[in-house]
């Protein structure tokens, strides 16, 4: 599944080359709890230090208590990002060694569902995306991400990927993030593009983004009936699909929201 989305059309950016053995999920919102911000594409604390997530899923199997795995000596190197006093504390899930009696409901600690609070080794601590207990590295300098992926991906810099834009588009069109920017794709993950200048000459080998002949316009999308099959136009230009493993043709332009 993930492989199908590999894209060679765009040159790899350094961020994506950072250690990460899983796909990086996009942010739920572009505003964050007080004291947390984004520099470049990484979350930082108020001092500008990179936030690291201790991935409780990667601590599984090393300990029965991933939420307090970083205790003792570990706290000499890693500093928990403590939550503000009074923040609602969510229970540690049973899957991560939490008590079986506790209700599993996550309590919102901010208006961004990415950020919740859990009892950590030094008290209530921020948690990102429900699985990354948030820390900073004690000896780090602002801007450094040198511990990204450390200890078999237990420690990962928290990378910010902007939330997807709200689309007014045909139902099978989605925005997908590539190298930090959103581009449009169809439901199968094909990239959408339009001709740079003149339309594809007949017979056109490009694969159209087809639709139904009785389909009506939506937002900036309209339907043309003059091609081999009903085809979407975006901002007045015909839309074609490119295999996610292939580059968008040189005389085409990838669509952006």
């Amino acid at each position: 599944m993930r492989r199908a989305l590999l894209l060679l059309a765009f040159s790899p950016a350094p961020l994506w080359a950072q250690a990460a053995d899983l796909d990086i999920p996009v942010a739920a919102a572009d505003h964050f709890p007080h004291g947390i911000s984004v520099k470049g594409r990484v979350y930082t604390d108020r001092r500008g230090l990179t936030l690291y997530g201790m991935d409780m899923r990667a601590a599984t199997g090393r300990t029965g208590q991933p939420a307090i795995y970083c205790s003792g000596d570990c706290l000499a190197r890693w500093e928990p990002l403590l939550a503000p006093r009074g923040a609602p504390v969510s229970p540690v899930p049973r899957a991560f060694g939490g008590p079986r009696t506790e209700a599993a409901a996550v309590k919102p600690a901010s208006d961004n569902p990415d950020w919740t609070v859990m009892e950590g080794p030094a008290g209530p601590q921020w948690v990102y995306k429900k699985v990354h207990l948030v820390f900073t590295r004690k000896d780090a300098r602002p801007g450094s991400t040198e511990h990204d992926g450390a200890d078999a991906y237990l420690w990962n810099s928290l990378k910010y990927l902007p939330p997807p834009p709200k689309l007014v588009a045909p139902p099978d069109v989605a925005a997908r993030l590539v190298d930090g920017a959103y581009v449009l794709a169809d439901a199968q993950g094909n990239w959408l593009f339009s001709p740079k200048d003149s339309d594809c000459a007949d017979p056109c080998a490009w694969r159209p983004l087809a639709t139904g002949m009785v389909r009506r316009a939506v937002g900036q999308w309209s339907v043309r009936h003059t091609a081999d099959q009903a085809q979407w136009l975006y901002r007045g230009k015909p839309v074609y699909r490119a295999d996610p493993r292939q580059p968008v043709p040189a005389d085409g332009v990838a669509l952006t929201p």
Partner: protein, 378 residues
């Protein structure tokens, strides 16, 4: 899903006998010197010696609970009418304060060690060359073929666990459970040998021992099909590049830190996506024998963190204790006591334990090209 996971511990297959290479009947090496394999078997190397467990297999949590009771009370509980009470009490024995349970948090329970292997023979490799300055004292085994100095304290600790040991030449349920991980794509492992000039003797072979994210290609009987294609995982940490040599039809690699990933769950709703463990083996080596049918059989040995040995039980949590009946605290105590690698200078406690995994790898096509850009998922 949980039951499937517990199956890793509760789960069996036939032994894979290590057959000495018959170099005369080995296939010719490929012209390009490149040979790929996929692992069809990867499980603790089992040897069922007669003298191994003179007091019987490892006791269940229920048995251990009963042992804590005075004999009169024990006899009362064992009476049929009191079965429900006994069940309630022994399962309660699996839990500690604040919702802890004996398998998720075995280190929070102070329980005596489980029964350990008393025999002198086990499978494995000599990992420490007779002595390891960074290790802890232990008695090495002798291999079934008579080789001395075999380091496999994992077997000593776990070899009397019924689901490991099995009976009558058949390995315990753990073998079948781990094979299922190989089939499901949660733990696909591949080997890519390059620079092979001879299957009987070659002083310099490069071995890439890696994970693949590809699901196994199996036949209708769930046997691995030879000549299927697998692509090496993009993540360099789980792509181990080893130096090796072939002597007398046996491939041996130099000691190295080998890391392989296992994911847990195949995407069902109950799975926690991204939950994963590592096979993390230090001073690890492969000793694999070329077979006439083109496969490789042998051992992977190395020092593993003690917790990793019982990761499956830990993930299984209370189910492993109350359904499978494991006394994980007794298991943990045995592993801790017998750990023989990576001694903590401050405490003197060893944190890793020597181990041997028995493996079978069948011919496959292995793509070692690294993918490029990743695309984010919402």
């Amino acid at each position: 899903m949980l039951s499937h996971k517990i199956a890793a511990l509760c789960a069996a297959a036939l032994f894979v006998p290590i057959v000495p290479a018959q170099t005369a009947t080995l296939p010719a090496p490929p012209a390009n010197g490149e040979m790929g394999f996929v692992f069809a078997h990867f499980a603790p190397a089992i040897h069922q010696g007669d003298q191994d467990c003179p007091d019987g297999p490892v006791a269940t949590l229920r048995d251990n609970y009963l042992q804590t009771q005075a004999s009169a009370e024990r006899l009362r509980l064992l009476e049929k009418p009191n079965e429900a009470e006994l069940t309630k009490r022994w399962t309660g024995y699996a839990f500690g304060p604040q919702g802890t349970n004996i398998c998720t948090h075995p280190d929070k329970f102070d329980r005596p060690s489980q029964r350990i292997v008393q025999g002198k023979v086990a499978q494995g490799l000599d990992l420490d060359g007779g002595a390891d300055a960074e290790g802890c004292d232990h008695d090495p085994f002798t291999s079934p073929t008579g080789q001395a100095g075999v380091d496999n304290q994992m077997w000593r600790a776990m070899g009397c666990v019924r689901t490991w040991r099995g009976v009558d030449g058949t390995g315990g349920d753990i073998v079948r459970g781990l094979t299922q991980f190989l089939i499901s794509g949660e733990h696909t492992q591949v080997l890519l040998l390059t620079g092979v000039d001879s299957l009987s003797d070659d002083p310099d072979v490069t071995v890439i021992y890696a994970n693949s994210e590809d699901r196994a290609v199996v036949d209708a009987k769930q046997n691995f099909m030879p000549d299927a294609s697998y692509t090496v995982v993009a993540n360099a940490q789980h792509r181990n590049v080893l130096k090796g040599r072939i002597v007398g039809g046996v491939l041996m690699t130099d000691p190295a830190h080998i890391r392989l990933r296992q994911s847990w769950g195949q995407g069902s709703e109950r799975d926690i996506r991204g939950k994963r463990t590592e096979y993390d083996m230090t001073k690890a080596r492969l000793r694999l024998t070329f077979q006439p049918d083109g496969s490789l059989k042998g051992l992977v040995g190395g020092y593993q963190p003690i917790w990793n040995i019982m990761a499956s039980a830990s993930i299984g949590g209370e189910g492993a204790a109350t359904t499978a009946g494991y006394d994980c605290a007794a298991m943990y105590a045995a592993l801790k006591k017998l750990a023989d690698g990576d001694r903590d200078p401050a405490t003197g406690q060893c944190r890793r334990i020597s181990s041997a995994m028995e493996v079978l790898a069948v011919p496959a096509f292995v793509n070692d090209t690294l993918p490029a850009t990743r695309v984010a998922q919402q």
